[in-house]
Symmetry: C2
Subunit: 385 residues, 2 copies
């Protein structure tokens, strides 16, 4: 028997009741029933995003929401400051290049968090910056960036702050209204516990002012059209409405647990996973780990492919390796969405056994025990919903 355990940093596991929604007979997307689903989902998304702003729904990969953020609010020829600290942060630069936006790169070593003081300095050097483009959780390095501190700096300038929250929203604390995030992007296949196919974007009043003042060259990703339709609890074009129906169920789960408790659970899973990995003498890749995934360096003498193949072939545990310039150097374990602390312990147990079989010296049980100790000791106070 091989039991699948999807422990990648997206797509993540989808709860059984959410999957079953997807198997329901299809309804019409302009029916009263479909509209009622959007009414409920619109409220649920605001809660997960912790925002008073509308959260718009796009039928696209998360990258579609990033493109929407850029093309609607940053005119060609104007300047964007890209907080370039990983593979996905670099996507902001690729988007800028495609649409003639002048990207100024603030490079940070992969695995390190962006330094807010450097952002402040860069904004002084480039006072004409139209948009700062950052990342809440850099999926390629497993790093959580100090978005609150950066947001409060950007908020004091005329620049917008666009944040890729694709693997962060719903996994890590994020408060766009309080933190000054003007455009926050998310995808369905991470902490929102759905298959891929939907993207989300929240838009602040500061961003709307820029968007409304600019006749952007956009159609499918035109946010003004999406806003207009969202006011009627509708979408432009035919949305992936069966995914929206399933989203209702996953949002109900999040509401039931309470978003702050969801964040706490992810922090606990993250700390447990980090403790387990360190107990095996492995090195974390990031100095400021994200909370939806853990990245560690492949130990000397072993190959990432052998470890990952052992995990999936013997125990069904799917993980991913490094991307771009760190391909082969790291392994990333996802623990976001429909995952609890014991899933993390189970994943660590599999990792121990596979490493042991590959000849890596370890004390069996060390990772598991370390993770359990975190779970026991952490005892986070339940946060009222």
């Amino acid at each position: 028997m091989q039991k699948p355990r999807l422990m990648t940093p997206g797509p993540s596991s989808v709860p059984e009741d959410v999957l079953l929604e997807l198997a329901r007979p299809v309804i019409h997307h302009r029916s009263a029933e479909a509209k009622q689903v959007i009414v409920e989902v619109a409220a649920g998304l605001k809660e997960v995003f912790q925002t008073q702003n509308d959260v718009l729904i796009l039928t696209a990969s998360g990258t579609g929401a990033m493109e929407a953020a850029a093309v609607n609010s940053v005119p060609p020829g104007s300047k964007a400051l890209v907080l370039n600290a990983g593979h996905f942060a670099a996507r902001w630069a690729d988007i800028c290049k495609a649409f003639g936006i002048n990207a100024v790169m603030l490079d940070t070593e992969w695995g390190q968090p962006v330094d807010p003081a450097q952002v402040a300095e860069a904004l002084k050097q480039h006072p004409d910056t139209a948009c700062v483009m950052g990342t809440l959780s850099e999926t390629s390095t497993g790093t959580g960036h100090p978005i609150e501190a950066i947001g409060k700096i950007v908020a004091q300038t005329p620049a917008l702050f666009a944040v890729d929250g694709i693997s962060g929203v719903g996994a890590m604390e994020c408060r766009p209204d309080a933190w000054g995030i003007d455009l926050l992007c998310a995808g369905s296949q991470k902490a929102l516990m759905l298959p891929p196919g939907l993207a989300f974007i929240s838009v602040s009043p500061k961003a709307w002012a820029k968007i409304d003042a600019f006749d952007s060259k956009s159609f499918y990703f035109n946010l003004k059209s999406a806003r207009k339709k969202m006011k009627e609890f509708d979408t432009p074009y035919t949305p992936a409405h069966t995914l929206i129906l399933a989203l209702r169920t996953s949002l109900r789960r999040i509401k039931e647990e309470g978003i702050e408790n969801v964040w706490t659970r992810h922090r606990l899973m993250s700390e447990a996973c980090q403790a387990g990995v360190r107990a095996l003498g492995l090195e974390l890749f990031s100095s400021r780990p994200a909370e939806g995934l853990t990245a560690f360096r492949v130990p000397e003498g072993l190959k990432d492919g052998d470890i990952r193949k052992g995990l999936v072939d013997r125990f069904g545990v799917t993980t991913v390796g490094g991307q771009g310039k760190i391909k082969g150097q790291i392994i990333r374990i996802g623990h976001m969405g429909y995952t609890d602390e014991i899933d993390v312990v189970a994943g660590l147990a599999a990792l121990e056994l596979v490493l042991h079989n590959l000849g890596y010296k370890l004390t069996p049980g060390a990772a598991v025990t370390a993770a359990q100790q975190v779970i026991l000791g952490h005892k986070p106070a339940a946060v009222s919903k």
Copy 2:
């Protein structure tokens, strides 16, 4: 009891085995298993599209494929001839406007087919046309346009021929390679028997030559990126891969039936539905009906909303009304994808009963009998696969 019968011209019913694929545990989209799905789906799409060209997969509504066709191949400032004969044809013009393409409108009365001779004449008047933008099946009016004849005219010019086949591909005969269609767009939620969320586009060598010669401002919908990834049976960004998995099952169904038999079935459903509607003294809206839906005028003295409400409330039959300038004037019945001739008869039976209850004079059984006679008499020869 109310049994749902989705008879809208998209989304259409999804077969039970396809729905169950969507309820399977999610796998990773870069796994060998996911790649194997794309290998099979790539071949299946070529068969449904009847093309030797790659059919690229986009995570988007069908409109996303239309935008991709336009932005990748038609530079801003150049000229497009829009075959403007309905609500969705007009979407081509909206896309042109958004991206600075100069749209020349060839207007045709809604419900009438575009006249190929007029297209030839317009191309003589506008020899600098970069792209002709047309529609295989105009969903808003239920009209099938003579795309073969038009394609053969466009093929003799330097212009590309982009066709919205969203409600046409898989429902009506369409042979892009033989007919000279350079960019053919489709969506998942019509004759391909899936929920919405995926779009498809086939690209001819003539179109690739233009696309390759033009550094288009596009990122998410960049067709060069999609082509590059498709060569490795992959997609740029995270696709809606559970929909692609389900697509494999629906494409297997189409392969089993044979695409030409699928077209024959749709033609038969269309003719049966038309005969039934006419037998009730109702007037078809289109002079050249499409084969995936039938549109008829609301009879004098009745309201479209009352008829549609009666259909859905009493018999679960969901239909749609008119869009844009013909709102309230027509009712559209979809019969595409996972629908057979007896579904059409059942829909007509419901229509008879509802019209009768609303006081419309008819002979009960007239529509049903007329449709049955078509089914009996048509006896299409099975086409070898």
